[in-house]
């Protein structure tokens, strides 16, 4: 049986850990509320933006738009080089949040590797970057501290090079992998193909609406700037959605940790009481046998 002092020390240390995890949970709850609000408000805008873009892509696919062949809207048959942008947290202690994203990236990497496609990884968030560095997977580009404080300007600056490279034909696809917020207790992994715009859900035999007109002297320029905004917004939305998910994941993880600590203290207390009782019993026996021997 363990020494009384040892058990006491252990109880104290577990209680301290419990205090820390509880505090972390409270902090995450407060941060989650703010992040969730931001993500919720943007959700509708992001969804509509996707819809508008997908519709343009669909119409281009079905030739319902006058002679446009913008690279961003046309499915590329056999890509040579692709960009994968992933978003992970800057900090750990949030359960399987980062690992899920990393796993999805690895899967995508393996798929492309099997097809002999060159992949350029662009990472956001320290945890993912560290993981790939440790495993000696080459990162084309990486940025830390963006995923914990999403900033529109910085995210625009980060993603613009991918957009430019795509337009110049240096890359043939752009994927975004991130863990998004679904509700307080669930996160949803998103693996989105951002470029070329996905038009697969658009069926060409749908009842004919009128021909789409692009009202601009320079249609290409208009689509270009629209694509820039769309991808930049998709990036920003991925970041804010990921922050909300990170906080919800951390809140859950810390809640579980606090509960585990509680259980541990409970079982340690039982152990402590048993040990104490044993010590008292031994002492009593010693005293009684001492008295007996003196008779």
């Amino acid at each position: 049986m363990a020494n009384l002092k040892d058990i006491q020390r252990q109880i104290k240390s577990v209680t301290n850990t419990q205090k820390t995890t509880r505090a972390m949970k409270l902090v995450s709850t407060a941060k989650l509320r703010r992040a969730e609000e931001l993500a919720k408000r943007s959700r509708l805008y992001a969804a509509k933006m996707n819809q508008v873009i997908a519709e343009i892509a669909g119409r281009i696919k079905c030739n319902k738009i006058g002679g446009l062949d913008n690279r961003c809207f046309i499915e590329i048959e056999d890509p040579k080089t692709v960009d994968i942008v992933f978003v992970t947290a800057d900090k750990g202690l949030c359960g399987g949040f980062n690992i899920q994203t990393i796993k999805a990236v690895k899967k995508l990497l393996a798929e492309y590797k099997a097809k002999n496609v060159k992949v350029r990884l662009r990472g956001i968030g320290k945890k993912g970057i560290e993981f790939f560095k440790y495993n000696e997977v080459e990162l084309f580009d990486s940025v830390a501290n963006l995923s914990s404080n999403p900033d529109k300007n910085n995210s625009d600056d980060f993603i613009i090079s991918s957009i430019e490279d795509f337009k110049d034909g240096k890359i043939d696809a752009l994927h975004m992998v991130y863990n998004g917020y679904k509700n307080m207790i669930t996160q949803e992994l998103h693996v989105n193909k951002v470029l070329p715009v996905d038009s697969s859900q658009f069926k060409c035999d749908e009842p004919e609406k009128s021909m789409l007109e692009v009202e601009s002297q320079d249609e290409e320029k208009m689509l270009d700037s629209l694509v820039n905004r769309y991808v930049q917004y998709a990036m920003y939305y991925a970041l804010i959605d990921s922050v909300a998910a990170e906080h919800s994941a951390r809140m859950q993880a810390m809640d579980a940790a606090t509960n585990n600590a509680k259980d541990m203290v409970k079982s340690l207390n039982v152990q402590f009481n048993k040990a104490r009782q044993a010590a008292i019993t031994t002492e009593l026996i010693e005293i009684i046998s001492g008295v007996e021997s003196m008779k």
Partner: protein, 130 residues
């Protein structure tokens, strides 16, 4: 007269969602109006004022920064990056909206004459509300 469904969305939420009689938008190539059953159209918008003629014929002015509009037979979707609607019950609410609008337009346009044109438009819209 037919009504059109109008949605104006920003990353910070919905600015307008409902029926309207007509809407005037600041397109890149110049201002244009949209009535119900307009043919399909997608175009970019530049910073300026969107005038929404509501069902009761009152006009609401909304200042927008960069945006894109998608028009089809059923609905008009306006996606903008930033917007301030000039509306409010009291004079102070309206003047607050005007202040916000001024801040927004100053942050996107340097050209002082352009700012003045937009602000004059918004101020006259605010006058009509009172």
């Amino acid at each position: 007269m037919n009504k059109l469904k109008l949605e104006i969305l920003t990353p910070n939420g919905v600015i307008y969602n409902g029926n309207a009689l007509s809407v005037t938008l600041p397109g890149e190539e110049g201002e244009f109006g949209v009535l119900a059953e307009h043919s399909c159209l997608t175009t970019l918008l530049e910073a300026g004022v969107v005038d929404v003629e509501k069902e009761d014929k009152s006009v609401e002015s909304i200042l927008i920064s960069w945006g894109v509009v998608q028009v089809d037979e059923e609905k008009v979707i306006v996606l903008v990056e930033g917007a301030v609607a000039i509306r409010g019950e009291t004079e102070s609410a309206i003047s607050k909206a005007l202040e916000d609008a001024k801040k927004l337009i100053k942050s996107i346009k340097q050209d002082s004459s352009a700012i003045a044109t937009v602000m004059a438009k918004l101020e006259s819209a605010a006058q009509n509300l009172l």
